[in-house]
Amino acid sequence: MKCQNRYLQAVNEAGFVLDDANLFLDTHPCCENALHYYHEAAERYREAKKAYTKACGPLYKLDSDGDCYHDWVKDPWPWEGGNC
C-alpha cells in the first residue's frame, strides 16, 4: 500500500532499499557491487528523510526542531496512521 503523503512514501521506499541491501551486506560484506548500491541507497534515504522532516516534522528525535515546543512529542504517532 502506498502512503498518500509522498514524503513518507519516499522515506519508506528508500528505507526499505537500505534495510534490504544492509541484510545482504551482512552476509556479503566484501561485495563491491552491493556496497556501491548501498551507498547510493543511503544517499537517497538521507535526501528523502531531509525532505520529510522539512515538510512534516521529525522522524528522529535528533531532528526535533522548534523554539517553543518539542516537535518530537506532537501527535499523530505512526500507529495512529499519522501522515500516511
Binding site: 512529542v73 501527535d75 504517532w77 500507529w79
Partner: protein, 203 residues
C-alpha cells in the same frame, strides 16, 4: 520503526569473569523487574495512551529500556566469557549452562523464565502510569540488592548507572501522571477512562 545504534548507552568493560554474579545480574535481563519486561511494558502500553506527552514518553523510555537490556546482557556476557568447565561447576552455573551454554536467555536469577505476566498493559492511563512508576522503583530496589552483593568497581559502575536511570524514569512517569490528571476531572479522576470511554456530552 527502529534503528540500531552500534554502541552501549553506558560502557561495560569487565576483565574478571564471575559466573556466580552473572547468575544474579541476569535477573535484570529476564526477571520480574528486568529490562526486557520494562521495554515491553512501555512499548505495549503506548498505543492506546490518550496524550501526546505520554505516547512520546513511553516510546522513548521503552526504547531506552532496550538499550538497558543490552547493557545488562553485555555485563552477563563479559562475566561468563571464557569460563572453564571447573568454573562452571564450582559457581553453580551448570544448571544454566546445560540448556544455554553461555548464550543469553531471559530468566530470573532463581531460574524462572521470562513471562509476559511480569508486566501489565491495562488500557487505563492512570493504572498504567502508576504501574510504570512502581516498576521503576522495583527495578531500582533490584539494582540496590545487586550492589550489596558486588564490590568490583568494573561491575558496580554500569549497575549504578542503570539504577540512576530508574530514578529518572520514575520522576518522568510521575510528571506524565500529573499531565494526565490535569486533563481529567479533579473531583473524580476515575469518572471515565480516556483510553476507552468517551465523556458524555450531558456531564
Amino acid at each position: 520503526m527502529w534503528v540500531y545504534e552500534k554502541r552501549l548507552q553506558y560502557p561495560v568493560k569487565i576483565t574478571q569473569t564471575n559466573a556466580k554474579l552473572a547468575q544474579v545480574i541476569i535477573s535484570q535481563f529476564g526477571g520480574p523487574d528486568g529490562e526486557l519486561a520494562a521495554s515491553q511494558r512501555y512499548l505495549s502500553q503506548r498505543y492506546t495512551m490518550p496524550y501526546a506527552e505520554c505516547k512520546g514518553l513511553l516510546t522513548d523510555i521503552g526504547t531506552e529500556e532496550l538499550a538497558h537490556m543490552e547493557i545488562v546482557c553485555a555485563i552477563v556476557y563479559q562475566l561468563t566469557k571464557n569460563l572453564s568447565v571447573d568454573d562452571i561447576k564450582a559457581s553453580g552455573f551448570d544448571r544454566y549452562y546445560v540448556d544455554h551454554t553461555t548464550a543469553l536467555w531471559p530468566t530470573a536469577a532463581a531460574g524462572i523464565p521470562f513471562n509476559a505476566c511480569e508486566f501489565q498493559s491495562k488500557g487505563d492511563v492512570i493504572t498504567d502510569l502508576v504501574e510504570d512508576m512502581a516498576a521503576e522503583q522495583k527495578a531500582r530496589t533490584t539494582y540496590d540488592n545487586i550492589l550489596r552483593l558486588i564490590h568490583d568497581e568494573e561491575i558496580c559502575d554500569p549497575i549504578r548507572y542503570l539504577r540512576q536511570r530508574e530514578i529518572v524514569h520514575f520522576q518522568r512517569f510521575g510528571e506524565a501522571l500529573t499531565i494526565t490528571q490535569d486533563r481529567l476531572d479533579s473531583k473524580n479522576f476515575y469518572a471515565f477512562n480516556p483510553e476507552f470511554d468517551r465523556p458524555s456530552k450531558n456531564c
